[in-house]
């Protein structure tokens, strides 16, 4: 497609054909079914989908945070792909020194609830200083200075005092700012943010999103932003991956996705978002049924039982072609027909 921008930005991370299973009652349940995506320096990849689509599992698999009964079955997670330092994180021991250096070092992580990452027993400063010193050779005193500067950078008022506060002494918004500071402590090239504003009020959310955008631009990090909120995607993303039942069903630039979504699921999802400009008592377009359990994955296209455009005998039996890694488009027989027409 000619309307897609050519991505010349440096690849920071490439995920290829990632498959993750969770064992349930001695039976493997497929949580990720061949996910491929690229993160680029200085760009924001939005990953959107409803619960159970695999967006958080993707993040956790990249960071090797999948615990039993989950496991990576196959696929690669390439850090610095194509460079002499290329590493396949999928092949590392999750507890290895190399993986620890990546987690929190090369890749920062921001959680929905910052208290997931923060301990109640230590001051904000101690925790960020520790994270900083775990990944670089720096004295405590120097680290403290840098943490104060970092807290200032993430918009915490009076950082020279707040550095000695305990997390519970801070509001939800300030805690998430601390969570962001913690993720940035080791100057990562990649940041993964998993629903970073879902637990926040709307005015705080707007502040945190603006902060993330500013930091991402000034530091040139590759940001992977996971959310269920199409508004947050429209606000933040450069490129978007739409996930459904463990697969990326559409990949597009943000402008393309909202102007001309190619997958029936994306179209339906966009139409079901409540609108601030709605007419009084305006009904929303709905998608019939609910997301199936991953253990009861439909054959053929996983969306076919809910799809208004299902082609009988085709979508119900054959899997639609996958999106080429690095390319854009939709994993849908209709979309491929369009593309070749």
């Amino acid at each position: 497609m000619a309307d897609e921008p050519v991505n010349t930005a440096r690849h920071a991370l490439s995920v290829r054909d990632l498959v993750v299973d969770f064992d349930q009652d001695n039976r493997p349940v497929r949580a990720l079914d061949g996910v491929s995506l690229d993160l680029h320096a200085g760009r924001v990849l939005g990953v959107v989908g409803e619960s159970g689509c695999g967006k958080s599992v993707t993040a956790r698999a990249i960071l090797r945070l999948i615990d039993r009964p989950g496991r990576i079955v196959s696929g690669r997670v390439l850090l610095d792909p194509g460079s002499p330092e290329q590493q396949d994180l999928a092949g590392l021991d999750p507890e290895s020194r190399a993986m620890r250096a990546v987690r929190g070092g090369r890749i920062g992580l921001i959680f929905q609830e910052p208290m997931t990452a923060l301990s109640v027993h230590y001051t904000v400063g101690n925790q960020i200083i520790e994270a900083m010193r775990a990944h670089s050779d720096i004295s405590k005193a120097a680290a403290r200075e840098r943490v104060i500067a970092l807290l200032h950078e993430v918009g915490i008022p009076r950082p020279e005092r707040r550095i000695d506060a305990y997390p519970f002494q801070l509001s939800g918004g300030l805690r998430q700012r601390v969570g962001i500071a913690l993720a940035l402590a080791a100057d990562p090239q990649i940041v993964i943010a998993d629903e970073p504003t879902t637990a926040l009020d709307v005015t705080t959310q707007a502040q945190i999103l603006a902060l993330l955008r500013r930091l991402q631009r000034t530091k040139g990090v590759a940001l992977m932003l996971i959310t269920h909120d199409m508004g947050v995607i429209a606000q933040m993303a450069d490129d978007v991956a739409v996930m459904y039942l463990g697969r990326i069903v559409e990949f597009a630039s943000v402008a393309q996705l909202f102007a001309a979504p190619r997958h029936p699921y994306t179209r339906a999802l966009l139409r079901s978002v409540p609108n601030l400009r709605a007419a009084p008592r305006e009904r929303l377009a709905t998608i019939g049924g609910a997301v199936p359990h991953p253990g009861a994955r439909p054959v053929g296209c996983p969306f076919h039982p809910r799809c208004p455009e299902v082609i009988d005998g085709r979508c119900t039996t054959q899997a639609p072609p996958e999106i080429q890694p690095g390319g854009s488009g939709a994993s849908c027989f209709h979309a491929t027909a369009e593309a070749s027409a």
């Binding site: 939800g172 709307v202 999103l209 508004g231 606000q235 709605a278 377009a285």
Partner: protein
């Protein structure tokens, strides 16, 4: 003619500290809140966490005793009772007329009861004979779009959206005069949320439901409400018919809320903005207008004098000293 008239409602919680747990202060969670819900009308109470919207709903359900104010409820035409001073015992006959839809459909259904029994429970408590109950349960399941076989299944067999339908069926069982819905769709995925919003709209049309809809999502509120009351730090700061409130907000806080919502359109990125500062602490609210430390239009007067709700345009009330002179930005 109204179903509910709330007048001057206040709710304070004591702050206790020290060994003797002596009262050292008070959180004014709700202050001087007044509103009316007409028959067949849906009023949305919106605001951010800690604004007092849930405390208001809990006072109306009398899950909390109000500190001050009147809660005049009309279960049927020509009959009005102030519930605020009533004892538990005196409230009992009124309870069936006000029903609740909860946020979390997982937590609000007994996992050990079959769905039919969950929905029939309020009918049983109110003495309906078994044969009638069975018939009514069928009707209710049909009304909320669940198959008849749901009756003999347990809640865990249902998805989040279906469980919310069960909760709605239970709330409707006794034909209540008023429904209080506290964030009924905020725990649901968007595709399911849309289904439940449409169901609520259908029920509003078919049953002429009167509803207090407590929510923080301004998009959802736009679809389901006839009127909106915006709360900030315990007080209603603006109330208006829904379309008017979104098109032309008269309170700077409402403007800030609307501007902060991420719009599902990348072309509108620049129109999203965040107000400065943080939500005020209700145990130590700023003097004057509680919004003044965050308000881009604040003047000296706003820092000292509490603004009262005034009717600036027909049915459009705002508690801002400058409502009449400001031209604020809406989303129409």
């Amino acid at each position: 003619m109204s179903v509910l008239e709330v007048e001057g409602l206040s709710k304070e919680f004591p702050i206790r500290s020290g060994l003797l747990q002596r009262e050292t202060g008070r959180v004014r969670a709700v202050q001087d809140v007044s509103f009316v819900i007409g028959r067949g009308e849906t009023l949305a109470l919106v605001g951010e966490s800690g604004c007092g919207k849930t405390t208001v709903s809990r006072c109306i359900l009398r899950a909390l005793p109000p500190t001050k104010g009147a809660i005049r409820f009309s279960p049927e035409e020509g009959k009005t009772i102030d519930m605020a001073p009533l004892s538990r015992r005196a409230l009992r006959p009124l309870r069936r007329h006000i029903q609740m839809i909860f946020q979390d459909p997982y937590a609000s259904l007994n996992p050990r009861m079959m769905v039919g029994d969950i929905i029939a429970e309020p009918l049983l408590v109110n003495g309906m004979p078994a044969a009638q109950r069975t018939k009514r349960v069928r009707e209710l399941l049909d009304l909320v779009g669940l198959p008849g076989v749901a009756r003999t299944r347990f809640p865990h067999a249902f998805s989040g959206g279906q469980r919310q339908r069960i909760g709605i069926a239970r709330a409707l069982a006794l034909d209540p005069s008023l429904i209080v819905a506290d964030e009924p769709v905020s725990a649901l995925d968007v595709s399911v949320q849309a289904q439940i919003i449409n169901l609520l709209l259908d029920l509003q049309d078919r049953l002429r439901l009167s509803m207090l809809f407590v929510a923080h999502d301004l998009g959802v509120v736009r679809h389901v409400s006839d009127r909106v009351a915006v709360m900030y730090v315990g007080r209603i700061v603006e109330t208006a018919p829904t379309t008017a409130l979104y098109a032309r907000p008269l309170h700077p806080y409402t403007e800030a809320l609307l501007a902060a919502v991420p719009k599902a359109d990348p072309a509108l990125r620049d129109q999203v903005s965040a107000p400065r500062g943080e939500i005020a602490d209700p145990s130590n609210p700023p003097p004057g207008c509680a919004f003044h430390p965050r308000c881009p239009y604040a003047q000296d007067r706003c820092r000292v004098e509490l603004p009262v709700l005034r009717e600036i345009a027909p049915a459009h009330w705002s508690a801002c000293h400058r409502s009449a002179e400001l031209s604020l930005r809406g989303v129409a």
